[in-house]
Assembly symmetry: C2
Homo-oligomer: 163 residues x 2
C-alpha cells in the first residue's frame, strides 16, 4: 500500500498521537526517564495501514496494543527526529499540531542531552504538562520534586562545602 504525504498528514490528524511521558527510573542519574512516543492505533482489520506507515517513515514498530487494537509506534530518538522533520514540512491541520510542536521541542532537547540535567528535565516536564496528557498528577508530583532539587543543588562550579 503506497501512502502519499498528504494522506499521512490527514490520517495522523485523525488517528495519531504525540505523547511525552516521564517515569520514575532509579537506574537514571536523576531518577526519571523521559519517553517521547509517536503512536497510531488501529483495529486489527487495518493492520496493513500500520505497516504502510512503518514503510512510509522507514522507522518504528507495529505491535499489539489491547484486545483487537494494534499500534504503529516510534520511540527511537533518531526516528522521532525524522518524523518531526516530516511534520515541519507537512504540517498537521488540526490543533494536534500544537502538541506536535511541543513534542518535537522535547525530542530536540533530548537530542541535545538536556534531559540529563535537572533544569532541562524540569523544562521537559513543564512542556509535557502543557500537552494532552493522562499523566497530569504524576507530572505535577515530578515537577515539585525537581523544583525542590533545583533549589537545593549548588550552581555549577560551586561545591557543597562553599555555601
Amino acid at each position: 500500500m503506497e501512502l502519499s504525504p498528504d494522506w499521512v498528514v490527514g490520517f495522523v490528524d485523525g488517528e495519531g498521537s504525540f505523547h511525552v511521558s516521564v517515569n520514575e527510573n532509579p537506574k537514571t542519574k536523576l531518577g526519571y526517564q523521559v519517553l517521547p512516543e509517536f503512536v497510531v492505533v488501529q483495529h486489527q482489520r487495518d493492520l496493513q495501514v500500520l505497516y504502510a506507515l512503518k514503510s512510509f517513515f522507514k522507522c518504528g514498530v507495529v505491535r499489539k496494543n489491547n484486545g483487537d487494537r494494534w499500534c504503529y509506534r516510534v520511540r527511537r530518538l533518531e526516528c522521532l527526529k525524522a518524523i518531526c522533520e516530516f511534520f515541519v514540512k507537512h504540517p498537521l491541520k488540526t490543533k494536534k499540531n500544537v502538541d506536535r510542536i511541543r513534542f518535537c521541542r522535547v525530542v530536540g532537547y533530548m537530542l541535545e542531552g538536556r534531559h540529563l540535567s535537572l533544569e532541562g528535565l524540569l523544562e521537559i516536564v513543564e512542556i509535557a504538562l502543557q500537552m494532552n496528557t493522562q499523566q497530569r498528577d504524576a507530572l505535577l508530583r515530578i515537577k515539585r520534586d525537581l523544583e525542590a532539587k533545583v533549589r537545593y543543588s549548588p550552581p555549577l562550579g560551586e561545591s557543597q562545602g562553599e555555601r
Copy 2:
C-alpha cells in the same frame, strides 16, 4: 484552510463515518424512512477543519453534536452522490472503504427511487445490516416486517382478488 484530496482521504479514513439508518415513519408509504449520512465528528477546537471540509465538498452542514463535539454532516442525496464520486476517484485506504462502497450502493438505489418499493427497501435494509451499525436489532426487526409484507403482497399486475 485549503485541503488537498489526499489529506481529506486520510482524515476521513481516520475520522469519517458512513451510516445508513432506517427509521419508522408513518408518513411514508412503506412506513419506513431511509437516512444515509456521511459524518465527521471533531472536538470544537477543530471546528475550522469541519468548515474546511464543508468548503471542500461544497455541501453539507456543520452542527453541534454533543457537549464539546461538533460534526460535519451530509444528508442531501445529491451531495452524497458527489461525495461518493469523490471517494470512487480517491479511495479510502482503511477497511472503512468496504462500508463506503455499501453506503454508496444505498445512495445509488435511492437516487433510482428503489427505496420506495418493498423489495428495494428490503435490499437496503440488508445492505445496512452488513455495515458497521449500532442499529442491528432495529434493522433485523424491520427486515422481518418487510419480508412478511413482501410474502403477502401480490406481484405487480395482480389484484388481491385474483389469488
